[in-house]
Symmetry: C3
Subunit: 348 residues, 3 copies
Amino acid sequence: MNFTADQISHLVNGTVVGDGSVTVNTFAKIEEGHAGALSFLANPKYTHCIYSTKSSIVLVRRDFEPEYPVSATLIKVDDPYQTLTGLLTMVNDMMSPKPVGIEQPSYIAPGVELPEDVYVGAFAYIAAGAVIGRGAKIYPHTYVGADAVIGEDTVIYPGAKIYHRCRIGARCILHAGVVIGADGFGFAPDANGVYTKIPQMGIVEIADDVEIGANTTVDRATMGSTRIGQGTKLDNLIMVAHNVEIGEHNVFASQTGIAGSTKIGSHCQIGGQSGFAGHIHVGDHVMVGAQSGIPGNLPDDSKVMGYPCVPVKEFYRNSAYVRRLGELFAKINKLEGGIAAGCSGNEK
Amino acid sequence: MNFTADQISHLVNGTVVGDGSVTVNTFAKIEEGHAGALSFLANPKYTHCIYSTKSSIVLVRRDFEPEYPVSATLIKVDDPYQTLTGLLTMVNDMMSPKPVGIEQPSYIAPGVELPEDVYVGAFAYIAAGAVIGRGAKIYPHTYVGADAVIGEDTVIYPGAKIYHRCRIGARCILHAGVVIGADGFGFAPDANGVYTKIPQMGIVEIADDVEIGANTTVDRATMGSTRIGQGTKLDNLIMVAHNVEIGEHNVFASQTGIAGSTKIGSHCQIGGQSGFAGHIHVGDHVMVGAQSGIPGNLPDDSKVMGYPCVPVKEFYRNSAYVRRLGELFAKINKLEGGIAAGCSGNEK
Amino acid sequence: MNFTADQISHLVNGTVVGDGSVTVNTFAKIEEGHAGALSFLANPKYTHCIYSTKSSIVLVRRDFEPEYPVSATLIKVDDPYQTLTGLLTMVNDMMSPKPVGIEQPSYIAPGVELPEDVYVGAFAYIAAGAVIGRGAKIYPHTYVGADAVIGEDTVIYPGAKIYHRCRIGARCILHAGVVIGADGFGFAPDANGVYTKIPQMGIVEIADDVEIGANTTVDRATMGSTRIGQGTKLDNLIMVAHNVEIGEHNVFASQTGIAGSTKIGSHCQIGGQSGFAGHIHVGDHVMVGAQSGIPGNLPDDSKVMGYPCVPVKEFYRNSAYVRRLGELFAKINKLEGGIAAGCSGNEK
């Protein structure tokens, strides 16, 4: 299917600059553009690419004014990234496979009722008492434990494992290798330092519209629930420990770890490889830089970075100071000499 | 089933303070208490909750004396957490499903003999020569490679993968997504920097009573064995490289990494996201703070933190000093001015 | 099979020192040597082991001269590690199982053609349109999505998941739990901070001779491809985000994370648990120490370490300075006293 710049502009409420009759049939990154492709420019880092891109159409901000000649047709919009997202979603929905039905061999325990419009891939395992919502897609090799609940239109990609009694909301996406509801890490040492397992009798509750990246693990609570709130997105290889409670509409980048019983608010943005201590409270709208260590509570609107974390500006300032420590030690040595000289001078 | 405070107190050798006839039928965290629930108070952080909890019974230390009125019945015991653990284990054992038998379809290679009381879930794969101990539970999607050995009463949760010839002890628990015995990371570069794979011909040996968290990986040795000692507990998403040897009764928090050939003693407590260099020796009873980097050997009883790690007290002191570097630089500048003034003063 | 020292020496172009008729039939680490075993000595850390090893034969460098008596027969070679690798590969090839054929039950979508010499394990899933190269080994529980391509002689260990349309080259090795092509982490927030998913329409392209460790994840691109170049080796539990491009013949140690759209050159050596910011460029022959944070571009031949990273030498120097900050603060206090005394002296 080909679309003209004029057609797309009309669809996204944009303004065409250049030839409105040029057509595209695919998307491309601006730096990998080619004839027939639509690209977008949102990150200023890539502005220089617009002068050399071979894409036929580029979405740009309304206030973008090229400094050099541009061969592509531009479509000016309020937010090129969001506009692109809309177009991509539309095309993706048209193009994506919509698997439906029960492939064989799969294992569906006696008594489990499957809505008519679900997909259950081959080698999927659905244990007794599990409840699968309408429109859910359970890909191959998925394990849904006893009495687990999968919400409507939730997609579970190949090989995700959901332990017994855990509850996944509606419209969630769980990627391959995700493990929901494995035992929390709880052991009581005896006098000889030999550990006894604390039974982990709680569950995991995941609200609606949550996406969880590949191989991320969310442990079940000792008692009660480990919770992930509506609309929160977890990247790959993240660890959420037992009894953690995460609020709504957060984004957590990959390889972050959150220790037991910590509570995190809503609308936070957490950088990759960060670590949160256990039993702490983190407020709303908190931003944490990558690889940070969070040893204690953080109030709303905190912006921190570092190990242990400090306000972001302080982190960069302190890092710069550390790089100047050699200079500092040299100055001190010089001052010590100066003082010594000064003092002997005084004593003359 | 309902139990009275008197009955429970009798069972756990406690002392009832309050109404001994009150009954419970479930557990709850003290801050999420409700009528009919038993809670415990061990962490002083939660002491304030005892005055507002709606739980019917709370386990407390023998020396606990409330400062305000408490509506719950208290049962005083030596160690509330350990007592709770005992009660939970008892109840958990009563409540847990005890799957037994061979579900179909599963793949059991010709010649493999299964004891009568094992569980093998659907889609489990047991290769030729594998030995499965009595009472073992092999959940769905598990892979047990050729000639691998699984000890008695060991539980392998869905989707764990055990490569050929690896040996898992008795009463171990391997959670979903665990990978035991993948190739160690060994490559020899040639003169052009092109890597040749070093065959990884060894195995992994896991002793008895080991628990391994979801998606943790333990690589097979180049030669000999990668070893994890009795009673050691590994949390989720941990990396144990080839030829590592870990002793007994350690706890490793999640996302920790241990590079090749490192030896770690017994009774250590390792914080999350820590990293150990390769070819080092770590003693017994070592405590490592979260996110630490361990570049070299650590003697017995070390308590370290930081990147690179230093003694814990020094870590906190140095972190505080770093936060005061701005102040320090300012002082130096002032001193340099002072010296200059002092010197000119001398010269008057 | 037994081989004499003379036979092996002849095979590897070595020089025998000691009894050339002694025989071996296995390999062992030098510190775990026993009669009948061949060991090697390459890392000087282990030199002392040669005087006590019970191995029958040890490969050593041509310039190695023992300082004490050695009971083993030595074979002197140019590069003991590389020689060992050659011997191991030879023996490993002789010993390894060579599974071939299609085990049942497996799921092979209608229309997929399998070359005669492939292995497809039980419970493997091969979706419509997938192309499997000659000699490929697809172990049990593997998922190969729609239209994915697996190159010749590539080995995919149990439970690896390859999403639709991703392309894996020839002679690659993907270990258990690897996830290739899960959605990149892309979300656009609206004015209320609610995230909309950006469709991830691109793919992952993995070139020839790449090895990827257990539970590592490589996300598909938003548009275009996430790329891993020829001969690059990734260890376990690594995260490669969407649109990352990694060049050729790199080694990345475990638990490293690379954020979106970052480009890394060739022949780099990356330490474990390192993190790369998004949208940066890293040159060729770069060495990054363990647990480093790379916030920006790095030119060719950089050698860095730290969080944020600095040149390696500077990292160690700065770390040493930080450990002396207490001393520095004490000196400053003393100097301030000295200045005060000096000044008052002047005023006399």
